[in-house]
Structures are given as C-alpha cells and as structure tokens.
Amino acid sequence: MIFRRFWPLAALLAAIAVAFVPQVPIFWVTLADTIGIGAIVTLGLVVITGFGAMTSFGQASLMGFGAYTTALLTTQAGLSPWLALPASLAVAGLAAFLVGSFTLRLSGHYLALGTIAWAVSLYYVFGNLDLVGRNDGLRGIPPLSVLGTPLLDSRRYFVVVAIGFALAMWATRNLLDSRMGRAIRSLRGGAAASASFGVSIAGARMLAFVHAGVLAGLAGFLYAHMQRSVNPSPFGLSGGIDYLFMAVVGGTGHLAGALLVTIANDRLQDWLPLLLGAGGSYETIVFGALLVLILQTAPEGLWPLLRRGAPIRRRAIRPAAPLPARPRIAPGEAVLEARGLRRNFGGLVAVADIGFDVRAGEIVGLIGPNGAGKSTTFNLLTGVLAPSAGEISFAGRMLSRITPQSAARAGIGRSFQHVKLVRGMSVLENVALGAHLRGRAGALAAMLRLDRAEEARIFAEAARQLARVGLAEQADLPARSLALGQQRIVEIARALCLDPALLLLDEPAAGLRHQEKQALAALLRQLRAEGMAILLVEHDMDFVMNLTDRLVVMDFGTKLATGTAADIRANPAVIEAYLGGVA
C-alpha cells in the first residue's frame, strides 16, 4: 500500500538520479528533456481525445503561446522566467479558451478540421508578426535558474522537466479522478446521460480543452528556456500532428501511454536515420505508415496491450457523512403535473394533448403499443425535447424551458431505453456521476486534492445506492463488462444518486431474468414506500400490472385511457389498440 502510494515519487527521484550519473551520456539526457516536454503536451491531448472524445490538431500552436509569452516577457520586459511561468500558463489557457469557444461546439470531424484550420492560421500569424520576430523568432531567452544557479546543461534542466512532467501527471490524474473529471470522461459515450444528471456538456468539453491548453503552455515554457530561442517552426500543424500521433499510438485512453510513446517516438527519430541511411524523409514515411498500421491493428493503442491481464483496482469506500438531501414531498401530493403536452415533428403529431399527474409515493405506468409516443413524452418530461405546446409543473412549480440539466436540478432522475453508461469507467464511478449536482468541488480543487472529503461522501453514497440495487459485488468492474440487464440496474442506481423526487424509468425490466425482475419490483415498491414518485415506461405487462398504482395508456400520440390495472385490463379501447378490433 505504502509502495503504491509513493512509487511515483520514487520513480521521479530515480529518474533524476540516473540523469546525474556521469556515465549516462549527455545526449541521452538531452533526449530525455525533449521527451518530457513532448509528454506534457501529449498528456493534455490524451485528456481531450481519450477521455473527452474530441480531437485537436492544434496542441503545438497552444504550446507556441506558452513559449512566445515567456520569450517576450523575459527578453523584452526583462522579467524573471519564474514570474513569466504563470503568464505562460495563463496565456496558453486563455488561447485554448478563445479558440475553443468557437470550435468546441462543433462535433466529430468538424471539430478536428476546425483545429487544423486554426493551427495553420496561428502558424502563419507567429511567422508574420513583428512583435514575435516573424520567421526568425526571438533569441537570447535567459535560462531558468534556481537559487542563482542557471540551469544551463541538460542534466540540471532535466530536474525541472521531470518535476514539471510529474506535476502535470499528478494534476491530470487528480482531475480525472474527481467530480469534474467524471464529467469529462462521460463525454465518451455517456454525454446524453451525464447531461441529464446536471453536467454541462459544453463546460466539460471546455474544461478538458483548457486543461490541455495549460499543459501545452507549460511545455512551451520549458521548451523556450531549454532552446533559449523560439521560432514558429515547431508550433505548426506538423507539430500538432506529431502530438496527436503520440497520443493515438500510446492509447488515447491512458495517461501513461503518453510518456511511453513520446519515448518511443523520440528514440525512433534518432534511430531511423541510422537504420535507413541519411535523409529525413524516411522518418515521415515510417511515421505515417506506422500510424495507419497501429490504427488497423491496435486501435486502442499500445498501453492497453501492456496492461492486459493487470488486476482490477478496488476503490476503498470510507464511511462519510451523507450528502445533503432534498426536502421530501409529502406522500399523495402531486410531484409532476403535465397538461396539454404536444410535440410535432414537421407535420407529424407525435404527442397530442397528453396530461397526467404523478404523486409522491405512487408508481405510474406509461404503456402503449410501439410508436404510441411514450418515448417522446419521456423526452419532453426530461428536457431532451422541447414541447410544441403544453406545460409541466414539478412540485407545484411551473417549469418553463426544461433542459436535461434543469430537469436534474429540479429532482428528476432517469434511466435510458438504450443504456448510456460510460463503458470505460467502473460501475461505481458511473453511479457516482449521478451525484454530480450534489457536489461542489471544481477542477482546481480536484487537481490539488482539496476535494477528498466531498469525494468520499459521493462515493459512500454511490456505494450505498449500488448495494441497494444489489450490484455491490460489481462495483469495481468496468461498466462494459456487465450484462445488459445489469447495466439497466446500474442506471437506476445512478438515478438514485441524484436523490430524485421523481424517478423516470424507460423499460427498466427489459433484458432482466425473472428473479432480477422480482428484485427490481421489490426495490421500486420500497422506493414508493419511502415517498418517491415513479413513472415507468414498460412493455412487460405482468411487471407493470402487478407494480403500478395507475396506468396511462397512449396510442397514436393521444391518451387512450387512465386508471388502475384492473380498469385498464377491462377497457375495450385498450384491448382494441393492443389486440386489434373484435371482428
């Protein structure tokens, strides 16, 4: 345990010690400096690409902002490099924020192409601005110095690079293992779900992007003081491609991959010319071919191959004070009132004038044949779709313009018809995502480990909800390894983590075995007894009829009938809708 805690520190000290062994050639240490700097940029890119599901070809340009900032402040204004450091980080972060603010709304390949566009633009800006010396760049940048000793040789500089990388790694790991970090990680495959637990998707994307920008700024700062001069060439698109290459090869889902491949990459750059004879052209050929080959054969990158078969880490759950809870609504009072809900898609009326109540301490079933408009109704209630007409009140308060986030804040927890878990996160972390709105800690607090008390409370709550749905054993498995039915149950635990007043469940029993269905029914009954309002869409009639207090039947977008299970079973209109007319 102690070993695991301190091995990164030990590795850092060991690396620094090795750099100072006189038998280690200075060439290798210089190489290590370059590797460390590249790894810092790649680390940020892994956060963007691997965890945030975005692609950026522009990280080298952001690195340029860091490098030019310190170059200007130290050569023109005569500032000490250490005072220029915060400015470098801030300028690179600000640049990331500005370019992010107009490119991050783009999705998929549009975003990637957008980053190519501004990477090319910025390269020419660097190369043509008099302020930064055009293509000649800036020279005479002072070296970093510690206690009056300038760090001129590579061995001494390695100390700074190694510490810089270690801090970047530490902060990034801490960030990803936090409330905001889970929001970033949910961008890969679970964005719609995390939005319905109050995560601002745009905010999470921006956070990942700015974090990577600040890391690029740090790398630029280190680069500028190592080279002692800067010019535009390393900060163009080709630099950006190199960093993306490293991230892809290492495995974009893994922080350690960044270091691994930057090492391999820089080694390759030195060895290829020796192997293939002089001339730099073979290098790009091999890079390009290798990139394609890796995508074809190991799309997850190399790091997961190395990690294959490694034991699953268990997260320790410490007892902690419960999270703040929502005031309860008295049983029998209306939690949700929908009036005259309507939704048109062009000429098609998917939902027409639907109205119903759900009261605290009751289970209402929403049923109907396929295409009846149940899912659309669900999406209207959860803010995924905006209603064309009608109003929704929650706990007696009218909700105007519902978004998934505002629905979550109001206290509506939901599950999805098509399971939306973040496949790479553990089951427990997925459940913890549900408690996003019950925490406060921001990204900075997370990086500095100031959020541990709150995190302990969130995870205690997540573990409690997971135990409640009977999946405590599976807490540390990756979500993708569970059977589909179990994944549905995980979604319910996640919804419970929101501390909802109303639970909306979309086909919760689909894919469950008989025993599991009974366990689910028992859980829902218990929640009802605690005063929760539950609305469920379900096709399993046995399950619905035995569980619900009232049913709302929809057909062709309209409300066909409401009533108790017995009423509905006897209702001729319902029988006709389900079984066809009696001849």
């Binding site: 599901a53 490119t103 390949h109 190519i116 090319v120 633009s121 052209s281 790009t284 050929i285 071919a289």
Partner: protein, 345 residues
C-alpha cells in the same frame, strides 16, 4: 486599387478557385462515399505536377517507381486480406487492378518519356501514372479500417498524408519544378491580359464538373456511388460493394488530383510538399459546403480563390491566415445551427 488591378485579381482568384473547386469536389465525393476526410488529396496534386514536369524534361518520373511499389504492396495486402481458399476467385481481378494496369502505365512511361511528345502526351502519361495509386492506397490503408469511426479515419488519413509527403521527397527530390503551359498564348480583353492556360483551366474544370454530373446521373457506377453515400447498409443489401465503391471514389479523386496538378504546374513552382496547402484550401471550400453539397463546394472554392487573390494584394504576409480564417465564421454559423452534445464513441 483601380479597376484593372481588381480585374487581374478576379482573374487570378477565379483560376485558382477553379482548381480548388476540383479538389473540393473530390473531398466531398470521397467523404460521402467512404466517410474519409481525404487529407492526402493535395499529394495527388503535387505528384501530378512533378510527374508532368519530369516528363517535360524527358525523364521517367519517380512516380513510375512509386506506382510499382504501391501496386505490389496493395496486391500483397489484397491477398493477405482474403482466405487462401478464395484466392483463385479474386486473383484475376486483384492482379488486374494492382499489377497489370500499373505495369502498362509504367511501360508506357518508359517507352514514351524519352520521345518528348509534348504537353498533351505528358499530361496523359501523368494521369496514367498517378491515378492508379489512389485505389492502391485505399486498399492498403483504408479498406481494413472500413468499420472505424470518422475520427479514426481522419487520423489515418493524416498518417497517409505524412507517408505520401515523405515518399514524394524520396521519389521526386527536394527541388521545385514548373511545368510548361498547354497553349503558349494570351489574349487581351481591354486592359486585361488573359493567358490561354487560364482558359484551359476553366474549360477543364467545367468539363470535369459536367462529366461528374453525367457520371452520377446517367451511369450505373455513378448511381451506385450515390447509393452508398446515402445509405451504406442499404447499398450493400442490394449488392453494391462498399470496398469497390471506396476504390472507385479514390480513383476519381486520384484522377482529378493529378489533373489539377498538371493544370497548375505552369502557374506556380511545385515542391514535393506543396500539395498540402493547396489541398487544404480545397478543404476550406468543402467544409464551408458542409462536406455535403457539390454546387456549394464549387461556389465556396471560388470564394476561397477570390479571398486569397485579394488578400495577397492587400496583406501578402497574412494571405494564408486570412484564407484559413474564412473558415471560422462558417464554423461559427454551423455550430450555432448544429445541436451539440451528441454522444461520440
């Protein structure tokens, strides 16, 4: 600026825009059919221009060797991709596409290059050498990735681009070349001098656009490509091969890319790595058109050409900045219209 300068700039812009339009059309076509953002499009342009210039000097261009290598590699990859049992079935076609065609082009280059038969013959040889590279590249790099996401394909395309730039340096050298014009004449229209080459470019562009339109409307292969673009699975269900469509789309892109190279070779000096920036301008146009609309891409390409020409006049050092910044308001508009937050795997 007076009217004469403006007219000259407009002429420049329209001529460059016509070439960008050709490239933008390829990008839209390849993206629609294969979902690949064809970053290496510009390399076909550079290969085309450099091969054309070499043929003009009576040399066999490096692209002949490159084509031989790519053909053999694609043949091997094609075999490796199939089970041994089905080799007899696929062998004739695979050999035809990857070896025979290539051998004919290369032989023709070796026989005809020393004869120096003039620009028209050189252009034909160039097309014969560069076009077959494209389907080979598709077989080698993209066919095994057919199921991958757009983003993975994009990164792979960047890898192919890097490799092709490196190969360009190996096979064509670091020197820049300029090719001869097809027609060495010029006309005056008022104060304006119009070179015959400019007219050749515009005519060629119109011809290609017309042929593409006819191809998509009237031929079975063209309709098959459209079907794949609209619905990949549906097209497969009615017997259209996705891989075959991909190779066809790449072939068209290779052909049009090489032709663009031949067309601009007389206008500007082309180096092994010049293709990228030219291709990127085609991209700006294609992106403005949402990677979806052919007429939109052509219109946008003309705008890009004009913006470039006027930017070169007013703020020469920032020419490229201005051209690539054109994309930003478009991206902004697009992002305001799009719905963010879709899940990405």
């Amino acid at each position: 600026m007076d009217a004469t300068i403006a007219a000259i700039l407009v002429q420049d812009g329209v001529v460059n825009g016509a070439v960008y339009a050709l490239l933008a059309l390829c990008l839209v076509l390849v993206f629609a059919v294969t979902r690949i953002v064809l970053i290496p499009q510009g390399e076909f342009v550079a290969y085309g221009a450099l091969s054309y210039a070499a043929l003009d000097e009576g040399r066999v261009p490096g692209s002949a060797w490159l084509l031989a290598g790519l053909g053999i590699a694609a043949f091997a990859a094609g075999l490796a991709h199939e089970r041994r049992a089905s080799w007899p079935r696929i062998l004739p076609r695979l050999a035809g596409e990857c070896l025979v065609l290539q051998a004919i082009s290369i032989a023709a280059a070796f026989v005809l290059a020393p004869l120096r038969l003039g620009p028209w013959m050189d252009a034909l040889l160039t097309l014969a050498l560069v076009t077959p590279m494209a389907p080979c590249l598709y077989r080698l790099a993209f066919q095994p990735l057919a199921q991958a996401s757009v983003l993975v394909l994009l990164i792979a395309a960047v890898g192919v681009h890097l490799a092709m730039v490196g190969l360009g340096l190996v096979f064509f050298g670091a020197e820049g070349y300029r090719g001869p014009a097809f027609l060495d004449a010029s006309f005056s229209a008022g104060p304006l001098t119009i070179s015959a080459q400019a007219i050749v470019i515009l005519l060629a562009t119109l011809l290609i656009m017309g042929s593409l339109a006819a191809f998509f409307e009237a031929t079975l292969a063209g309709r098959a490509l459209r079907a794949v673009a609209v619905n990949r699975l549906g097209a497969r269900l009615v017997g259209i091969s996705a891989a075959g469509s991909g190779r066809l789309a790449f072939t068209l892109a290779g052909f049009i890319g090489a032709l663009s190279g031949v067309l601009i070779a007389p206008l500007t000096t082309i180096y092994f790595d010049s293709g990228f920036i030219i291709g990127l301008k085609g991209f700006v146009a294609a992106i403005i058109a949402g990677m979806a609309s052919y007429p939109g891409a052509v219109a946008a390409a003309l705008v890009v050409g004009l913006v470039e020409a006027f930017a070169a006049f007013w703020a020469s050092p920032f020419k490229e900045v201005i051209v690539f910044t054109v994309i930003i308001p478009v991206l902004l508009l697009r992002s305001l219209a799009s719905v963010p937050g879709e899940d990405e795997e």
